[in-house]
Symmetry: C2
Subunit: 195 residues, 2 copies
């Protein structure tokens, strides 16, 4: 691993943590340079522009999501076990690993009405996540665990809504039963389509 | 209505629209002064501090929510008709009236990890909204439309999660079937508890 590569990794990890705390738009190159102990010009040489940095932080967050939420679930059996593992991993990722809340949710809220490269990129990444859920439902259908008549797109939407709802109940409302509510809704989402 | 009061209304309406577009933290007194055609010092005389302005914008948003979503639903019959009307009104409010997305969602995401007066205030307002849903479920139980064994807190969580999920699918993912997905989940949330 070259030094340049390691430095970039460190910068992105720090930028990711700052984004999780303060949002993507507030991510200032000056603040980031201070946090990693670099000069502003040194940091610019890595990212060229604030927009480029924002795009790369989103990619970093997506890779992190894959690493912490999706990949470990793939060791589980095909079908519902895998969906359940993803949900469990997501609850852990969202509740403990992320210092300041889901960086995607911040980015979505900030950029949903600002057309441009960052918005397009968030849309693609978030769309991919939703497709991952839909695909996992498809697999459960192939395994005859979920009714073939069930819409995997609908179920992906329901799993996603439950995740976001939990995130807000847990982080903002500090609801002590957020996880129980999340699990109850998860159970009823699946019950109605399970074979 | 005194001139001072009218001016304050105009400023808050503009501040609300800016918040919906750019978030609560980016709400700058300078930008706001420009938008309403006032001097910065004139604006300060109304709000004293940025924090005070942020608190009042959140109150304005909450009143707007009550006016557009809750109040019209109260003309419907007690129980499920009222819950359904609130959901319908919310879809309209979220999809058309708000220029840049739900100001609460922006505020939640921005402030969930920043302790202070603004965060506390958002928590209270959002908690009140969730309680309004829980109360409407209680009424439906009193009217024997929803099983008495159902948890109104759980149902409020489910209705809320569905709303946030729809908002993101609709605004960010531009999913053409967002409303159908929202309605399907709404239907299945109620079906399992209806008498």
């Amino acid at each position: 691993m070259s030094k340049g590569f390691t430095t970039k990794e460190t910068i992105l990890k720090t930028a990711f943590e700052l984004t999780s705390k303060f949002g993507l738009e507030s991510l200032s190159i000056g603040e980031l340079a201070k946090s990693v102990g670099m000069s502003k010009s040194g940091l610019f040489s890595h990212f060229k522009s604030k927009e480029k940095l924002q795009l790369m932080v989103m990619d970093y967050a997506a890779e992190n999501f894959t690493l912490k939420v999706v990949k470990p679930a793939l060791t589980k059996g095909r079908g519902i076990d895998r969906i359940e593992a993803m949900m469990e991993n997501w609850v852990k990722w969202s509740g403990t690993y992320l210092p300041g809340g889901c960086p995607f949710l911040s980015a979505i809220v900030e950029f949903d009405d600002r057309p441009g490269a960052v918005r397009d990129h968030i849309k693609v990444l978030q769309g991919t996540m939703v497709e991952t859920f839909a695909r996992s439902v498809e697999i459960a259908k192939e395994e005859s665990q979920i009714k073939s008549s069930a819409s995997s797109e609908q179920l992906a939407y329901e799993l996603y809504s439950n995740m976001i709802g939990f995130h807000i109940y847990n982080r903002l409302l500090k609801d002590k039963n957020a996880k129980v509510k999340f699990q109850n809704l998860y159970k009823s989402i699946l019950e109605k389509v399970q074979v």
